[in-house]
């Protein structure tokens, strides 16, 4: 254990929260798809990567790398482009690789998803090159010091954007007609179809929304961690773990799990003194522990296996 002052603790908490907000945004896509199809979209992280490239190209085409008076507006435009690209890709992937397998044995869509993931990753490496590309900051990212705690504008933006996205998603699912249809489909696909819900388009919509949210997360992290073809793999894995920790299938669970995992990772390195090289191991250990103690996750409903 390392002893920390109050300011340092708050500092790590802020860092953990920002990381967690990113995980949460990506985790939402996993959890929404799992809630309906009971299937892990392995390609989710790679869909994020493609969206981030789209955002990067849109941003540099309009703005270049200099910071100008309009660069924040352009940045948000780039986020919209990334969301559109990822959303479209999510839609296509579901149509081509998952829909034909909806009635297939469980292993089939999983294997197909791994295939899609490999295809996307390597196509991106072929098209955009394997070298990582910088996503220029649209603003001056000098940290502000508040009572010994350094907060960068980037962190504030991540937290704000993630909050807006999560609140709108929650409202959409809880209040809108389409959201209601989504919840119904997730509860029981066949009965939902009998009630006149177009289940296929609801599933497509789920993929589009989940992918678009992941793209937002992708662009937000790209500022700090650059853009490269395998960027989605680890981010996707961590987010999946976050979704499981929160209770896969539960929207609030994904948010909680993401934030929790981000904080745990930051504190694991800073407070428990886990070497940075083994940082990724924290998340996997958390996964294994939660699956043993409470496999349904923190906010998940436990389901009995039916014969």
């Amino acid at each position: 254990m390392v002893h920390l002052s109050a300011a340092e603790l708050v500092q790590h908490l802020v860092n953990g929260l920002t990381l967690g907000a990113i995980y949460a945004l990506i985790a939402l896509g996993y959890t929404m798809v799992y809630g309906i199809l009971k299937f892990i979209n392995f390609a989710h992280g790679d869909i994020l990567m493609v969206g981030t490239y789209a955002g990067l190209y849109a941003y540099t085409a309009i703005q270049g790398s200099a910071v100008g008076p309009w660069s924040i507006a352009v940045f948000f435009l780039a986020i919209v482009v990334a969301m559109a690209a990822s959303g479209a890709l999510g839609f296509i992937v579901e149509r081509v690789a998952y829909r034909p397998l909806r009635r297939a044995p469980r292993l089939a869509p999983l294997l197909s998803a791994i295939g899609v993931s490999i295809i996307l990753m390597n196509s991106a490496a072929f098209l955009f090159g394997t070298k990582s590309k910088d996503f220029p900051y649209p603003f001056d990212n000098a940290p502000m010091i508040v009572k010994g705690v350094a907060v960068t504008p980037h962190q504030i933006m991540i937290l704000a954007v993630a909050l807006v996205m999560m609140v709108s998603l929650k409202l959409f699912i809880d209040r809108s007609r389409l959201g209601k249809a989504m919840r119904a489909t997730s509860l029981d696909m066949d009965v939902a179809r009998l009630m006149g819900i177009n289940v296929d388009s609801i599933i497509s919509l789920t993929f589009v929304i989940g992918s678009a949210l992941a793209a937002v997360a992708g662009v937000l992290i790209a500022l700090e961690y650059t853009v490269y073809p395998t960027m989605g793999t680890m981010a996707g894995l961590k987010a999946f773990i976050a979704a499981v920790v929160g209770g896969i299938g539960s929207i609030s669970g994904a948010m909680l799990g993401g934030i929790l995992l981000g904080v745990l990772e930051t504190f694991g390195v800073a407070v428990l003194g886990i070497p940075v090289g083994l940082k990724d191991t924290i998340a996997f250990s958390v996964l294994i522990i939660i699956l043993l103690v409470k496999p349904s996750g923190l906010l998940g409903r436990s389901e009995r296996e039916k014969v």
Binding site: R102, G115, F126, F284, L287, L292, V307
Partner: protein, 310 residues
Amino acid sequence: MIYFILLLVIYIGIYAILSLSLNIVTGYTGLLSLCQAAFFGIGAYTSAILLTRTHINFWWILLLAGVVASLAGILIGLPTLRLKGDYLAIATLGFGEITRNVLLNWDSLTRGPLGISGIPAVKVFGFTLDPMQKVEYVVFVWFFVLVTYVVLNRIMKSRVGRALEAIREDEVAAFSMGINVTKYKMMAFGLSAFFGGIAGTLWTVYNQSVNPSSFDFLLSVMLLCMVVLGGMGNQLAVILGAVLIEVAGELPRLLGFSSIVPPQFKQILFGLILVVMMIYRPQGLIGRRVPKSRIVPRQSAPDSPTEVSP
């Protein structure tokens, strides 16, 4: 050129053992494992460390590498095998990543990213296995392919094999028939890891060096492709899958196109194989024999395990 072909035959042999071992877990038991590369790596590193630091007889090292890998398999199996399919896949993926992380960071034992090199040549039955003499090595590796095939064939036709297949077909039904599901799953993992470790030793002996980057997730996916392409649960088919995938992946080099075809070609091909096979021929090129004693043709339920007929 002939050297390259011999090299290919050696690699195919090693991959054939690996896909045979993955086939136990994924093909016979119906569990998706994404950490075969980790068992392979553990076996390879165990033998590399023993070969450089001790003078133990090769056969003991081979056995030890298998045992250490299989202990790792049981270690990952203990907490995770109670998980359902998709979770297990992720947990194994995580285990694979952890293993690679450990190999990369445990400098005092594995020499980190440098890997271990300068591993002495091995003497088997009075022959010194020199990697330059490829023909001897081809015989050596394919002998192990044969042994693996025969041993696994016997096991899969025994009570154990039937139990594993019962678990694949319907876990709940198998459980209610008195099959200790967790125990048999663990057995499948341990067995699979054991042969993975053996393959790792062959790899080390041939390359005379090991490096953590050889045991990544993509290798696990490639092995999965071999199993899926050939036909899950059919051993000969899996060996065929290993041949086809390895030859297809090296085709540009074989035909002398390697300067034109981008390096990503191989992986994109693997991805396409997975997707296309799942949609059009989920049982693989050959598929496995399905008992024909069903009286009423049954429609497959959406979430029932593998139910394919050739």
